[in-house]
Symmetry: C2
Subunit: 465 residues, 2 copies
Amino acid sequence: MSVIPNTHVPISVQSSTSAFLGQPNKLSTAFRARNVWIPAKKSGICKCVATPSVEKTAYTTKVARNTNIGKLQAGYLFPEIARRKAAHLLKYPDAQVISLGIGDTTEPIPEVITSAMAKKAYALSTLEGYSGYGAEQGEKPLRAAICSAYYADLGIEQGDVFVSDGAKCDISRLQVVFGSNVTIAVQDPSYPAYVDSSVIMGQTGQYQKDVEKFSNIEYMRCTPENGFFPDLSTVSRTDIIFFCSPNNPTGAAASREQLTQLVQFAKKNGSIIVYDSAYAMYMSDDYPKSIFEIPGAKEVAIETASFSKYAGFTGVRLGWTVVPKELLFSDGFPVAKDFNRIVCTCFNGASNISQAGGLACLSLEGLEAMQEVIGFYKENTNIIMETFDSLGFKVYGGKNAPYVWVHFPGQSSWDVFSEILEKTHVVTTPGSGFGPGGEGFVRVSAFGHRDNVVEACRRFKQLYK
Amino acid sequence: MSVIPNTHVPISVQSSTSAFLGQPNKLSTAFRARNVWIPAKKSGICKCVATPSVEKTAYTTKVARNTNIGKLQAGYLFPEIARRKAAHLLKYPDAQVISLGIGDTTEPIPEVITSAMAKKAYALSTLEGYSGYGAEQGEKPLRAAICSAYYADLGIEQGDVFVSDGAKCDISRLQVVFGSNVTIAVQDPSYPAYVDSSVIMGQTGQYQKDVEKFSNIEYMRCTPENGFFPDLSTVSRTDIIFFCSPNNPTGAAASREQLTQLVQFAKKNGSIIVYDSAYAMYMSDDYPKSIFEIPGAKEVAIETASFSKYAGFTGVRLGWTVVPKELLFSDGFPVAKDFNRIVCTCFNGASNISQAGGLACLSLEGLEAMQEVIGFYKENTNIIMETFDSLGFKVYGGKNAPYVWVHFPGQSSWDVFSEILEKTHVVTTPGSGFGPGGEGFVRVSAFGHRDNVVEACRRFKQLYK
């Protein structure tokens, strides 16, 4: 998958905009009319620069490309899948393509939540309701509601909670806090943003084609053999440990005992765990929903979470990260203070409208509505699991996460992805996109309309009957 | 101003939330009830860790603090001003404090814009209107509308435009693209995010207390003597040149001739200009509103902009950055491709509700409504300028920007800031907060309700009569 990162960027302006651009066009021309190019006095240079030929030369600056970004092997996984889906649609314009690939929510957001956002939007047109810059860390009522809804009795305080525009964005901000001199460990397979952001920050060496890994990253193999929990006795010490539970893509959730082992391991090594709990509310098993349920975790862990998969906020953008004041760098400096500095300098807070939605999510009605949305996707998960199970596949995940991890022993993930797309017009995600440990697996997402999920499963049965 | 970065973070949960947290509290306890701490089997370790005493030890991880963040001298400027304002309110609980400090918009957002956002919010509750993840680069219609409204006839295409959650955020993402091995130049004084993000990325040396500058940054002095445009013949070559016009804080706008000089200077040196045009619509003079009006600029410049100061979107969060496909690193690799990779990996797009608002901003009615908002703040600017002018102060800026740059020769900016706050209860911004070149100046923002601006000016006249 050697992609030019933004092959999917160039788009025909006309196609999407001819309908409405006439008007702004007129006005914009009006209000920019006085700025048309007028040769400045003593501007021989400009005249010459202005000639089209010069505009066409392949002038290059003397700024060297960031070598760390050069280490990245391909486009970020999900845009790459979007690219392949688009290519498939070009090949089969009439195909009814069903996407169970990228974990993108499909069900409407409950009205108790959208009406709160609409109300906030309207209020912004009133003197009393208008608000400008909010606190970069988020609005106090929302920070407090997050504490109460997710961390009651866990000793997490409002000041430990940083509201954001999403977990993916916070992962990168955390990497900026850590800088280039830390080492990281990741579950293999895992959400690609951990590895990619580490490469970008210069924490890694080059990509090793033979093993399909970046040097200087500790890949913690998670397989059916070890119950998708790494054998920590074989894991080298790193500064940072990214750990996602319930895991994306395997769907495996770590038990209280396993997380206690993980916290002990981090404590022994003086490591910081970045715990991604974006799918915590999908858990059926009685496992911890927060790393802070494990005693001592506040001294070694950060937790990042999101409203995306609970309330359908993938497009609305709202998440949070908890950095306990108890978490200290080796010199005793609180990690939260540096994270706060990055949040204040590199970010300006989540949209106040999204935050109004987040607050509604955490009202009694909102929490119940989110549980219904989650319940719906969990039913989808069961349908997908039963389908592959009935076809004789080994199926993992699903129980505690909206992802089904299907095993195709001895096959290439991308080959299986391509065959499924070609023969059923269903988009999945190749397991190897999440790391070498995902080779031979395909992730099927439960985010979809019911009829699409049922239809996709019908096609799977046809393909594999 | 030696501040602990997050001194303003800790907040009393009760104060802001007792009113509404009762309910979610109940439910949350309900849906987390099964997660109360139960000693795991073979968990002697856990029991021991679980004892309060251990929770209280000053355990430190073995992760070293990022030395670059350690170089930062204080909290980010504006949170620091918020902190001083809060301290003043504690001292004078009954004072009618007026804030003309941080450039925070105060006027309601025109209804044509908020109703579009409310409509989008409601639509998210319908099957037809729901949307999940959008393109990380922004929605096509908005990207196209930005091209049409701001870059008509300038050869900027939809694919060159990246929609974001604000210019401040994009500045940091650009710094991640550039990495730690570039050198930067900034106007002195200038918006502090340029220098701070450079320090954070490791592009600079230590802070030099004697000159109040970071080593390895080129500070381009902008003073009344040089008309606030740097003498480029004395400026050393750097990889990146941050240039803001109309400038924050001085309010000075660069002429077509000056920008042509700047582009030629960058071209000669092979530098990349990061042009911040966040205040372009405030210009009265017939100066370029975009760097891309200068021939050849597409080969050396990036432009970042924002809806914040046009539509009152400081809290809604929406901006954009233009990275022309013609801009190439020294190896010929397009900068836009690396920026796209960072946007896809470290960001997930601006809120779809904010983007619906941005599209409304660029409709015929929206553009006219924004012009009205801008016109209102420009009237404020005139009131402030006339006031200081009548008091015999040398006043700069104002004409092309919502900021008035008042000269207090020989005085310390922070002393003047403190005296004004103490004696008039008006919050301004000390010029030295924008760099050593701002020493002896105070920035007065025109963002405020009319009666507050008038009252503030009345108090200024009392203080300086």
